[in-house]
Subunit: 265 residues, 4 copies
């Protein structure tokens, strides 16, 4: 075959398979989204439509890749968790990262019009991605907690900052007033100066977005005018605490797929 | 800082830096494009608009990443070459792969309407990606030659196949007639049965697409009605042979950026 | 500094750090030991002195590297387990593999004379090594069970084979008689033809060697003629079953060092 | 087969193959050799016997592994270069590092008595190892130059330091006198205070040791009292400059071995 002379170049492709039986997290992150959000006039400190568009990208990933069992989104970042025992693409890091980031990016552009009707997208956004393995359920939960704590800290800071700036402070004044202060100070500031009760802000801002599959009663057909319901697995997006045990106890199937000793064998 | 308790999870991110001073090739490849091309009624064996849309994606990569010095596209696949001495993202494989595949995918969707006016995109396409290092200019050229030979072989086969099928053969008949035959046989078949001179088919089908920067005389302003030209670096797309030396001799700057011994030090 | 011109070459050293919080197993394996055992007249099917010399190499590894918490040896092979949370040499694979294999090899030669007095070592033996990560206790135990089952299967086969050959069978005859037979057949063969009760063979042959630290009552000094004992951590070598739970229950400290959720955080 | 239940653990072994068609350098380095050299009374600043013993270890590597084409030793460190196109052990890093470091260490102990007759080795020495790829001849030469410049700088410093200390200076005095000084100052110091002409010190101290294969006229037999000579490949150790072109021009086969038909080279 004419091509065989050159086919030796394939031998330069080295394996980047990830360790079996560990949780694979693919985290993607908007590249240059400060500029992107300004160019498109995103509301500050949070643009709900932009966040819901991110969730739409995540939903596309869930629909395409059944091995993705959990996702967590905050700001222009999303983390996707693959099942511990997933063998998708032989666990090759670049395959997994690229498929997810590609699908997410394409969906983001496709669905733009639904979330920003009448506002044209100025230029193509892009996301970077990376793959990280977590060897135990406890460490995976610590990873997710890390992201949710980050969401909280950043949101609290940004809420103070933008309220100050929008009410007349210069960026430097706003910064110097809140930098290094404790949570209580910021909550008090929001309350006394802007009448904002931080804990009553929309959960999507304070908690970020959780996406996962949940068995829900769904109308599958209507027989003689009577809706017939079945328990069906649905992709749902919620905005709740994932640091405490409650969420994981209420949704045991998320981490439960590879739990027992037997499944190791 | 409240988040420090969880920050240890960052230590699970392992380095995936690629060997310095080697040509990095990022190859991206449409996922499930047989289905995608059917769903969107792409012309067979080649859809020129679809190929030009791929080139648009490549152009976005060139505009965003100056370290990308060459690209080669065929069918639903594109290879991007980074300069040998590039330090972009510390040469981290997943960063490079994800940024390129993300930008390409987002641009593909954004520009869809320009290439398929009036035809709505049905669902988000996706591409996978991988990074491979090639240690010498000669091996890099062998890699690119491999892709262009592949383009030729596949195109010749597909041109025969689709002409047969479109003129009444069943897929099985078409396949069994041409499978394993030599180039001459296929050329003769195209000529005698369909009056097609293979070598006169559009170069974009036979040679694929080369994308690179070239210094070209460009009108930079008009003074007193006289256009003022300057040599400016332009991103150009051509459809020519890259296997023989000629192309590389005519465009020495593509591989020339890291050539001498000194630049190694 | 005169050397700075060349120091850029250090940048070609890529990271090979192993995933944190996983059990690292370094397995070393004699290279060409069929020839080595023949050249030195090792007893067949098992040379007890050669096995004890292997254990001496393992002991040196234990004395030098406190993070090694368990070892298992069979034939010319040894597996060393590093604590899950070890940070030794930043968990760099080549560092860990090389230090262990180097120390083992040097010790093997140094102690040769003690185990083979009067028999000169003919040439330097060598061992290869590799590092593998196991993400959970259960999988680590499966790994070790794998090696012990292998020890059993090989030993049973070899015991039959060498008794047949030593009693007059040709190698081919011996092989064809036992190849593919079940354990019971081999036990029966040993019993009926050679009067050997397999289960009464020395445990070091049937079970291999386990090496680990155990708190033992040790005489630390003698006061007024009375020996004073303390619980001290000793490196011990045993030859027992490690597949069933018993061994791990009796020695909980081996795997216990990184058990709780807290130590993950 | 009884063992199949556990054999899944093999899937945790990830590939660590090194990039094809690059020079692989395996560098090994004595672990804790300051203590080892004190424990064995090595002469300061250089112990010629200890250096020759290192060369003996290197010779064993050359005899065992034909793909090793060059070696360079200085102090307790040795670098081994594998041919660019070597496929030894499928270029797996841990295999290559471990085999070389193991053989070197075992040989070091075996040959100890020849170089230190009457002096017993106190404890097993050990070496660590790492593998690095260099993509071009020029960069490989820069790597080797880096090591030889290091040899020179360290040797000049140490020669001053130890002559000062051996003639009555305290370590602190010696250090503060020479630290940060230029080569000329050190040469002048050696000459004026100790009558030492640095350039007349033994080349093995100033240049380190080069080991490679060279075709040499060798007596292969004696016929009728007449020695019959043939050109035979011999492993030789020299102590010469490898930074300038001369050495490489005189020994073109060392780097020339990968220049086959492949347009790749």
């Amino acid at each position: 075959m004419a091509n065989s002379k050159y086919e030796y170049v394939k031998s330069f492709e080295l394996s980047d398979a990830l360790l079996p039986h560990t949780w694979i997290v693919i985290r993607i992150d908007g590249k240059g989204f400060t500029r992107f959000s300004q160019a498109h006039g995103f509301t500050k400190p949070n643009d709900e439509q932009a966040l819901r568009l991110m969730n739409e990208g995540a939903r596309a990933v869930f629909e395409d890749l059944p091995d993705v069992c959990f996702g967590y989104g905050v700001s222009d970042e999303y983390s996707f968790v693959l099942k511990k025992n997933s063998k998708l693409y032989q666990r090759r890091a670049s395959k997994l990262v690229s498929i997810i980031v590609s699908l997410f990016s394409a969906t983001y552009v496709m669905k733009w019009g639904q979330y920003f009707p009448g506002k044209e997208i100025q230029y193509a956004p892009s996301f970077d991605g990376r793959a990280v393995c977590y060897p135990s359920d406890a460490i995976l939960r610590d990873y997710l907690s890390w992201r949710q704590v980050d969401c909280h800290i950043n949101n609290q800071y940004n809420t103070c900052y933008w309220n100050l700036v929008q009410s007349g402070s210069s960026p430097t004044e706003a910064q110097s007033l809140i930098k290094g202060t404790l949570a209580d100070f910021k909550n008090e500031l929001l309350h006394s100066r802007f009448g904002i009760n931080y804990n009553e802000l929309p959960p999507i801002f304070r908690k970020g977005s959780l996406i996962f599959r949940r068995k829900e009663e769904t109308v599958v057909k209507v027989e003689d005018g009577v809706p017939v319901k079945r328990l069906k697995s649905q992709v749902v997006v919620t905005h709740e605490d994932l640091i405490k045990d409650r969420f994981w106890k209420e949704n045991p199937s998320i981490l439960g797929t590879a739990g027992s000793k037997k499944s190791a064998s």
